[in-house]
C-alpha cells in the first residue's frame, strides 16, 4: 500500500486544518474581552475553529479514493486563463493612475484579443464600444465615482 502525500484530499485537509488553527488563535486573542466562556466575540471563531480542525483531519485521513481526478488546464488554455486574471489585476492598478476611460479601453481590448482571438483593430473597436456604453451607464447615469486618473475625463 502506498501513501501519497500530495493528493487533493491531503492538501485540502491540510489547508482546512490551518484555517481552523487560525480561527482558534483569533478566538484565544478575543477571549480576554468577553464576559463568559460562551458569550462574546470569541465563541464563533472558537467553535468554527474546532469544527474546521476536526473536518480537516477527517478529510486528511480519509481513505475513500473513488472520486474522479480533476485535471488542471495546460498549455494555451492555461495561458489564456492566467493572462485574463493578470489583466484584471493590472486593470485594478491602471484605473487608479490612468482613470476609468483609458484603463477600461486597454483592459477590454486585451481581454477581447486574448479570449476572442480577434485582430487587434477589431478588438479595439469592440472595446471602444463597450467602454462608451459602460461610461454612459455607470458614470453618466449611475454616477459611480471611478478614479479619473491623470486624464480629466
Amino acid at each position: 500500500m502506498t501513501f501519497k502525500l500530495f493528493t487533493e484530499k491531503k492538501i485540502s485537509g491540510f489547508i482546512v486544518i490551518l484555517l481552523g488553527l487560525l480561527s482558534l488563535h483569533e478566538a484565544k486573542t478575543l477571549f480576554p474581552y468577553s464576559k463568559d466562556l460562551l458569550i462574546g466575540d470569541h465563541v464563533f471563531p472558537g467553535l468554527i475553529g474546532i469544527l474546521l480542525v476536526v473536518f480537516g483531519l477527517a478529510l486528511f485521513f480519509e481513505r475513500k479514493t473513488d472520486e474522479k481526478k480533476a485535471e488542471l488546464p495546460t498549455g494555451k488554455t492555461l495561458l489564456i486563463l492566467v493572462s485574463s486574471i493578470v489583466i484584471l489585476f493590472l486593470y485594478c492598478l491602471l484605473i487608479q493612475f490612468a482613470g476609468y476611460v483609458v484603463s477600461t479601453l486597454i483592459a477590454a481590448a486585451c481581454l477581447i484579443k486574448i479570449i476572442g482571438k480577434y485582430r487587434w483593430i477589431k478588438s479595439i473597436l469592440i472595446a471602444g464600444t463597450i467602454t462608451g456604453v459602460f461610461y454612459l451607464l455607470f458614470i453618466v447615469f449611475l454616477k459611480t465615482p471611478f478614479p479619473s486618473g491623470i486624464f480629466t475625463f
Binding site: 462574546g40 466575540d41 473536518f55 485594478c92 477600461t104 481581454l111 476572442g116 482571438k117 455607470f138
Partner: protein, 508 residues
C-alpha cells in the same frame, strides 16, 4: 382578507408607468440572463444590485425579483432548443423538450413551458399570499433560541442538498461562516481577523464574493472549455410558437400536478427546484397511459417539470420573506439585497415594511403576465442571442463584474476580493467543492451568531435553552425528520441526474 386588500394596494403601486417599466426591464433582463450561457440568476442579481441603488428600495427589489423569475423562464429556452440545461433544475426539461424540438415542435414545447411556468408562478404567488403572512404571524412568537435552531437546521439540511460529499459541504459552510466573521465583533466592538490590516476591519463585502464565485468563476470555466473556439450549437428552427389545443389539453393536468407538487415541497427547506422537477417528471411518466413516449418527445414531460421548477422558486419566497431564510443562492443574494436596502427579512418585515413587501408581491404577478405575453413572440430573438460569441460575452461579463464589485462600496479592495474569489470559485468547481453552503453561511453567518449570543445572554450562558423551550425543541425534532426525508430525496435525485446526463452536477 386583509392580505387581499394589501395586495390590491400593492397593484395600485405597481401599475404606474415607471414601475411597470422597471418590472418589464427586470423580467427581460432575467430572461436574457437565463438564455445566455455564462451568467446565472445569482451572479446577475449580485452584479446588478449596485446598479439598482439609484432606484428606491421597492423599485430595486421589483427589478431583482423580475431578474430571478425571468431567468427561470429563460433557462427552459436553451434546454429545449439546444439541449443545454443551464442549471440542474432544467435537466428534466431537456429529456422531452429537445426531442420535441427535433421533431419540429419546438414552438409547442416552448409555449407549454411558458404557460406552465406562468400558471405555476401564479399558484406559487397565491400560496405566498396565503402562507407568508400566516407564517410571519406565527414567527412573531419566536425568540432568539428559536431563530438560531431554525437557521442552523435549515443550513444543515441545505448542506445535504449540494449533491457532493457532506464533509465537503460542511467545510464549505464553515468557511463561509469564517469569512462572515471578518470585521468588527458584535459584542465587544473589537476587530476580528484583521491581522493589523485596516482594509479588513470593514469585513468582506458579500456581493463581491458572490460576483467572484459565480460570474468570474463561470467565465474562467468557459475559458477552460475553450467555448470561444467552439462553433455555437445551432438552435433548432422554430416554426410555430403557439401550442395546439391538443397540446394544451394534454398538458393541463401535468401543469397543475407539477405546480402543486413543486409549491408544497418547495416550502420545505431542503427540497430544491431540481428535486421537484425530477419528481414531477417521474410522476408524469408514472400516471401516463403511454409511458414509452417519455424521452422521445412527450409534451407532458415538459409541462410537469417546468411547472414544478417555477412553483418551487415561488415557494422559496415564503421562508425568505416570513422567516428570513433563503433556500437557494439567488434567494440568498435577494436576502442580502433586502438588508442593503435597510429591510429586515423575517416576521417583522410584514409589519414594518408591509407596503414594500406587498408591492413586490404584486409586481411578481405583473411580471409573470408580462413574461407570458412577451416571451412567446420573442422566442426567436432569445434563440438568436445564444449565437453571441463567447469571445465577446466573456470580456463583457468580466468588466461588468469589475464595475459591479467596485460600485457597492466604491472600493478597489472589493474588486480584488472578487477576482480572488473568481479564481477560488473556479478551483472549487474543478475539485467538486460545493459553493452553495459557502454562500448561504456567508449571508446568514452574522444573523446566526447574533441569535446564538442573544440566546446565551438570556440563559446566562446555558446551552440547554435550545431544548427547554417548546418551539425550539419542536423545530429540532422537525428538522431531524426533514433531514431524513431530504437525504432520501437527494439520493434519488443524484441517481436520476447520473442516469440522464452521465455526470454529477451541483444541485440548485
Amino acid at each position: 382578507m386583509e392580505s387581499v386588500i394589501y395586495l390590491l394596494n400593492g397593484f395600485g403601486e405597481v401599475i404606474t408607468p415607471s414601475n411597470l417599466l422597471i418590472v418589464l426591464l427586470g423580467s427581460l433582463l432575467g430572461t436574457l440572463v437565463g438564455v445566455l450561457p455564462g451568467l446565472g440568476p445569482t451572479s446577475a442579481i449580485a452584479i446588478l444590485l449596485p446598479v439598482t441603488t439609484v432606484l428606491n428600495p421597492a423599485q430595486g427589489l421589483m427589478m431583482m425579483a423580475g431578474i430571478y423569475y425571468g431567468s427561470m423562464y429563460g433557462g427552459s429556452t436553451t434546454a429545449i432548443l439546444m439541449n443545454i440545461p443551464g442549471e440542474s433544475s432544467s435537466v428534466p426539461t431537456t429529456l422531452d423538450g429537445y426531442p420535441l424540438a427535433k421533431k419540429g415542435r419546438a414552438g409547442a414545447a416552448l409555449g407549454i413551458a411558458a404557460i406552465g411556468s406562468f400558471i405555476a408562478g401564479i399558484i406559487g404567488l397565491v400560496g405566498l399570499i396565503l402562507f407568508a403572512p400566516f407564517l410571519a404571524n406565527q414567527a412573531l412568537k419566536f425568540g432568539p433560541p428559536e431563530y438560531f435552531t431554525l437557521m442552523l437546521f435549515a443550513l444543515l439540511i441545505l448542506f445535504n442538498l449540494t449533491g457532493f460529499s457532506l464533509k465537503k459541504s460542511a467545510i464549505m459552510g464553515l468557511l463561509g461562516f469564517l469569512f462572515s466573521l471578518v470585521g468588527i465583533g458584535l459584542t465587544t466592538g473589537q476587530p476580528r481577523f484583521d491581522f493589523g490590516f485596516s482594509f479588513l476591519t470593514g469585513g468582506f463585502e458579500m456581493i463581491s464574493i458572490i460576483i467572484g464565485l459565480f460570474a468570474i468563476a463561470e467565465v474562467l470555466k468557459g475559458l477552460e472549455e475553450n467555448r470561444s473556439l467552439k462553433v455555437p450549437k445551432k438552435p433548432v428552427q422554430i416554426r410555430n410558437i403557439y401550442p395546439s389545443k391538443n397540446d394544451l389539453k394534454q398538458s393541463s393536468f401535468p401543469i397543475l400536478r407539477g405546480s402543486v407538487l413543486g409549491f408544497f415541497l418547495g416550502i420545505l427547506p431542503g427540497v430544491s427546484a431540481t428535486i421537484t422537477a425530477f419528481l414531477a417528471y417521474d410522476l408524469e411518466k408514472k400516471v401516463s397511459k403511454n409511458p414509452e413516449k417519455f424521452g422521445k418527445g412527450a409534451i407532458e414531460g415538459v409541462a410537469g417539470p417546468e411547472s414544478a421548477n417555477n412553483a418551487t422558486s415561488s415557494g422559496g419566497f415564503i421562508p425568505l420573506l416570513s422567516l428570513g431564510l433563503p433556500s437557494s443562492p439567488p434567494l440568498a443574494v435577494l436576502l442580502a439585497a433586502l438588508m442593503i436596502y435597510g429591510l429586515t427579512p423575517g416576521p417583522i418585515l410584514f409589519e414594518q415594511n408591509g407596503q414594500i413587501v406587498w408591492t413586490i408581491i404584486a409586481s411578481m404577478f405583473v411580471g409573470n403576465v408580462i413574461l407570458l405575453i412577451l416571451n412567446l413572440p420573442l422566442v426567436g430573438l432569445w434563440a438568436k442571442l445564444t449565437d453571441v460569441p463567447f469571445g465577446i460575452m466573456a470580456p463583457i461579463i468580466l468588466l461588468i463584474s469589475f464595475v459591479g464589485a467596485y460600485s457597492v462600496r466604491n472600493s478597489m479592495f472589493d474588486v480584488v476580493v472578487a477576482i480572488i474569489f473568481g479564481v477560488l470559485g473556479y478551483l472549487f468547481n474543478k475539485f467538486r467543492w460545493p459553493i452553495v453552503p459557502f454562500i448561504l453561511c456567508l449571508v446568514l453567518g452574522p444573523k446566526i451568531e447574533t441569535y446564538f449570543l442573544q440566546s446565551l445572554e438570556m440563559s446566562s450562558g446555558k446551552l440547554s435553552i435550545f431544548v427547554q423551550r417548546p418551539i425550539s425543541l419542536t423545530i429540532l425534532l422537525l428538522a431531524v425528520i426533514i433531514l431524513i426525508v431530504s437525504i432520501i430525496l437527494m439520493k434519488r435525485t443524484k441517481r436520476r441526474i447520473l442516469q440522464e446526463t452521465g455526470e454529477q452536477m451541483e444541485i440548485s
